[in-house]
Structure formats: structure tokens, C-alpha cells
């Protein structure tokens, strides 16, 4: 049987398949459909320092091979998370990762500090790339000094594995990746959603309440693959690939481009069993190609 284990800094994942934050709730929503513990890990819905109502409805527009969303980080805040959601995550024995966002550096630091005290949260993913909030979110992830500053500030208070999730809505994602690596990130994950827009021609109005939103799904896969390839060549820390992954073949393409692990996002909506099917498909691929360990695929692109 081929080896599926991968390492991400200090973390050992039983396989390289994770779930993308905001597409998998807190895991429990999927318990009826899959054994969540079979996954390499889960990255739960973003947590901010304070309760957030998110954006008004409509928050979603379907697009060719994908969707736009404008949820806007709806969540009940870090204290509610610690008291009410964290206990429900204790039943998962795989890697549980929290996604951390906010509108100020102080907010990021507060959430990170509180997450640092939770034994069962083995890593955090710093979300400096959400396009759907007026302040913070993507604003931090689109310039090197601000991406570096928030990463550095969180690094000072967070001892475990620190992943930084990058925005594709930049001129050079490689520069941002290098900046957060230098500021102390242990890994980078990319890409978050691409800023997009939908218009209803009949009503002459935007479809989303926020006018613009984040594009995800298979439509963004080629852009994501290109960015993962560029970043993986430039940084020394592990890269986690995200963007339209819906099948084992998609996942393997990201590994070959240089990713050490992948996150499955929007595909969870169309088929809640996508993640476990991808794990089985990767195993099958390794067998067919007589590859002993999945980590041998990382960066294995032939040029």
C-alpha cells in the first residue's frame, strides 16, 4: 500500500487532503456523508475576534464551473468558538486547523493567542485574503509590508504551525509569499478566491449584495495551479494548493506543481464525499504509477 503521509512543518498529516475554510463548516455538517477522520485534516470556518453578521443576502451567484460568494466572514467570534465549537471538534483525531481573520492586527493577534491555548487546534491558517470584508481580510494580503506585519505580529504569540493563506488578487503572489516566509510563516496556502462580479442584465443590478465577490470552483483551477507552481519554486516552506480541486487528478496536478498538500473547497458543495473520493483516487494513482509515497509527487513536474 502506497504511503499517503505528508509533513507540513511540524504537522504530520495522514494524507495530503484537507478541506478549505468556509466550505466545510466545522466538519460536523459532513458527518452524515463521510468519515471526517479519514481526511488529512480539516480547516474550519474563519474565526474573528468579535461576532460578525456577515454580508446581506444575496451572497452567492453561480458562474460557469464555479460560484461567487460574498459571505463576509460570518461567525460568532473567538470566545464563542472556544466555548461552544471547540468541544465539538475534539472528536476529530486528524489535524484540526483554525482559520483566523480580522480587521486589525490586534484582532488577528487576539484570535491567534486564544487558538494557541487550544491543544486540539494544531495549526492556524492566517486569512489575509478574504475579499468580502470592507476592512482587513484581503487588505492585509495585497501588499508585502502589511502581509509581513500581520504575520510577524501573530508569529510572536503563536507557537504552533502557522500557515498564511494568500490572495491571488495581487500583481506578484511570489513577492507576498516571500514576505510572509521571511516574517515567520511555516507554510503558505493558496489561492483564496479571485475577486469577481455578476450582473443580472434583466434587472440591471449586481447579483451580489456587495456587488463584487470571490470566485471559486473549477473555473479558477488553472490560475491557482500557475500560482502554486510559481510560489513553490520561490519559497522554502511547504505550499498547500487550493483552487477548484474536485478530483484526484486535480489534486495530483497541484502536488506536481509543488504543493505538499491540497485543500478541497467548493467541490464539497456539489459532492460532500469529494474529499474521500480524492484520497482513494490518489492511492490508486500511486499504485498505477508504482510510486511508494505521495510526497515523492511534490514538485515532480517534468519540464
Amino acid at each position: 500500500m502506497p504511503g499517503l503521509e505528508v509533513k507540513l512543518h511540524k504537522l504530520t498529516l495522514k494524507n495530503p487532503v484537507l478541506t478549505a475554510s468556509g466550505t466545510f463548516g466545522y466538519g460536523v455538517e459532513f458527518d452524515d456523508f463521510i468519515d471526517v477522520n479519514a481526511l488529512g485534516g480539516i480547516i474550519v470556518k474563519a474565526t474573528t475576534s468579535l461576532h460578525r453578521e456577515g454580508n446581506p443576502y444575496p451572497r452567492m451567484a453561480e458562474t460557469p464551473m464555479g460560484m461567487l460568494n460574498a459571505v463576509g466572514l460570518q461567525n460568532k467570534g473567538v470566545d464563542y468558538f472556544v466555548e461552544n465549537i471547540y468541544p465539538k471538534l475534539l472528536k476529530y483525531n486528524n489535524c484540526v486547523i483554525a482559520n483566523v481573520s480580522d480587521s486589525t492586527v490586534e484582532g488577528y493577534v487576539e484570535v491567534a493567542e486564544k487558538m494557541n491555548r487550544l491543544d486540539h487546534i494544531q495549526a492556524i491558517e492566517l486569512n489575509i485574503s478574504c475579499p468580502n470584508v470592507k476592512e482587513g481580510g484581503m487588505a492585509f494580503g495585497t501588499s508585502c509590508p502589511s502581509a509581513s506585519a500581520v504575520t510577524r505580529a501573530v508569529r510572536e504569540v503563536y507557537d504552533k504551525t502557522l500557515i498564511v493563506k494568500l490572495s491571488p488578487n495581487v500583481t506578484s503572489i511570489v513577492d507576498i509569499a516571500l514576505a510572509v516566509e521571511e516574517a515567520g510563516a511555516d507554510a503558505v496556502s493558496l489561492i483564496n478566491t479571485l475577486l469577481g462580479m455578476a450582473i443580472n442584465a434583466e434587472t440591471r443590478r449586481p447579483v451580489l449584495s456587495t456587488v463584487t465577490g470571490g470566485l471559486s470552483g473549477p473555473a479558477i483551477k488553472p490560475v491557482a495551479l500557475r500560482m502554486v507552481w510559481q510560489v513553490a519554486k520561490a519559497v522554502k516552506i511547504p505550499v498547500i494548493g487550493i483552487g477548484g480541486i474536485s478530483s484526484a487528478t486535480d489534486a495530483i496536478e497541484f502536488l506536481l506543481a509543488g504543493a505538499s498538500a491540497v485543500q478541497v473547497g467548493t467541490a464539497n458543495f456539489t459532492d460532500p464525499q469529494t474529499t474521500v473520493k480524492i484520497i482513494a483516487g490518489i492511492e490508486d494513482y500511486l499504485r498505477r504509477h508504482k510510486i511508494a509515497e505521495v510526497k515523492e509527487l511534490t514538485g515532480g513536474l517534468l519540464l
Binding site: G22, G25, Y57, Q74, D271
Partner: protein, 269 residues
């Protein structure tokens, strides 16, 4: 209730009018337990422009025959594709999703449906009838051709009709029907599904007459299981997902729903 992903077989596809089809689905395995008001997320195969599943109310369940029905309104590529399904085609479906209506016993109830809003009301009327309720139905549409399945609802009680052009039943908006005027106080509960304006108007009539009410909301959904937080509605407790907290709500819980609707509503939307 445990949720399932199943491949069901299309047993029949009956056109009710140009835009509405009734799909009968079956399985070799016993269908999961479902309650009126719950919904299903259907995968649309073979339609390149349709990426996400489509939510539909569970229209009817026949335990004895192990079959269920979905009422499909063609509004876009995905639903048009589903409307073209043929006998023996396979349909991948996630169900049962959301919370159902609260069922009363031995009471007097009114069910109000507008257009394809009648979809969840057949299953509901049948269950309410079985639980000893005196059931009345009020169904509205733009024209006679838009009144769906009125004949089938007669099995459970009185059926009142309203069309905007007066081609069937009372002329005018469903919300202006005489059954919602003087007689309305005889009902202990009103269940409603239809266009937003219609449900708001019915909710207001119910509140004004101190009658319990439940409405079934429609919303644009992605996941259907509370993971994406796209299908929210503003409630007195903040934004809540229609898919997991609903789709059935007491309108008194919904923000700004108990205020008067001045213009009634048009089904032309």
C-alpha cells in the same frame, strides 16, 4: 435526521404545463424518512452551465410504493435539464434536508400556495389530513394554466382558487381572496409557500388575526447543509441559514416580516 446521498431512478415525468414538471422517483432501497417541508438538493448532470445542486421541496412521498415526487419549475438551464429527464434516467439527490412544518392535530388549518409554491403543500396537506385536521387549501396563480394540481388537493379538503386574470376562481391576488377575509379567524394555523411578497402578506394577515403561521422560504443555495452560509435570511437572532434553520420559519422570527405589505403581491416574478 440523518442525511443521505442517493441515486434514484426516474419512474415518470409528467408535464403539468409548459414550465412545470412532476418527477416521480423510486429506489430499490427503502427511501429515508422525510417530513413535509423538508427539501432535497439535486445534482444536474450533463448541463455544462450548471455547477451547483438545485434545491427542491419534497412534494409527495408514498411510503407504500417507496416513491417520491419533486415539482420542477423550469427557470434556467439546470431546471430545464431536469424537466427533460425520462423514465429510467438516474438522479443523484441529497436528502432529507432542513426542518419541516410543525404539524397540528385535530385542528382547522389553511394552506396557501402561490405558483410553484404549492410544491411542499401536497405532502403537508396529506399529513395534516391524516392527523385529523380539517384542511383547506388556497391556491393562486396568474391564470388558470398556472394553478397546479388543484384537483389532487381536493382529496384532503376544500380548495379555494384565485387567478389574477379571473380565468379560474376569484379574480385578483391570492392574498385578496375572501377566505383570507371574514372566514380567516376560523383557522387555527396557516401554512404558506409562494413568492416572497405573497408570504409576507399572508404572514401579516395571520399576525393581525392572531393565527399561528409558518412559511417556507426559497433561497439561492450552494451546499444545502449549513456549510457555506450563502442562503441566509435576517431573523431576530441575526443571519440564519435557510437550509439548516429553515426552510420553514415562523414569520414572527423573521426581521421586518410582521409589518404590513401595502401592495399585496404579484405572482409575476
Amino acid at each position: 435526521m440523518k442525511k443521505y446521498i442517493l441515486d434514484l431512478k426516474v419512474l415518470s415525468n409528467r408535464a403539468l404545463n409548459q414550465n412545470h414538471h412532476l418527477l416521480e422517483l423510486g429506489s430499490d432501497e427503502p427511501l429515508p424518512v422525510m417530513v413535509p417541508g423538508q427539501f432535497a438538493e439535486v445534482r444536474v448532470d450533463g448541463s455544462p452551465s450548471t455547477y451547483l445542486r438545485r434545491p427542491f421541496s419534497i412534494h409527495r412521498v408514498d411510503r407504500g410504493a417507496n416513491t417520491m415526487h419533486l415539482l420542477i419549475k423550469s427557470v434556467g438551464d439546470g431546471t430545464r435539464h431536469l424537466a427533460e429527464l425520462k423514465k429510467n434516467d438516474s438522479l443523484n439527490i441529497m436528502l432529507p434536508l432542513g426542518n419541516g412544518f410543525t404539524l397540528t392535530r385535530n385542528s382547522e388549518v389553511l394552506l396557501v400556495g402561490g405558483g410553484c409554491g404549492v410544491a411542499p403543500l401536497y405532502f403537508l396537506a396529506e399529513q395534516l389530513f391524516r392527523q385529523g385536521n380539517k384542511v383547506s387549501m388556497l391556491i393562486g396563480g396568474r391564470s388558470a394554466g398556472d394553478i397546479l394540481l388543484a384537483g389532487e388537493y381536493r382529496a384532503f379538503g376544500n380548495v379555494y382558487l384565485a387567478t389574477e386574470d379571473g380565468s379560474l376562481g376569484e379574480k385578483g391576488m391570492v392574498t385578496a381572496h375572501s377566505v383570507l377575509k371574514k372566514e380567516v379567524s376560523s383557522f387555527k394555523k396557516i401554512y404558506c409557500c409562494g413568492p416572497d411578497g405573497m408570504m409576507r402578506a399572508v404572514a401579516h394577515i395571520a399576525a393581525a388575526n392572531k393565527i399561528e403561521c409558518e412559511v417556507s422560504l426559497e433561497n439561492t443555495m450552494a451546499c444545502g447543509i449549513g456549510a457555506c452560509l450563502c442562503c441566509v435570511v435576517e431573523t431576530n437572532q441575526g443571519n440564519q441559514c435557510v437550509c439548516t434553520e429553515g426552510p420553514v420559519f415562523d414569520p414572527l422570527r423573521l426581521k421586518n416580516w410582521s409589518t404590513a405589505v401595502e401592495t399585496g403581491c404579484s405572482l409575476d416574478q
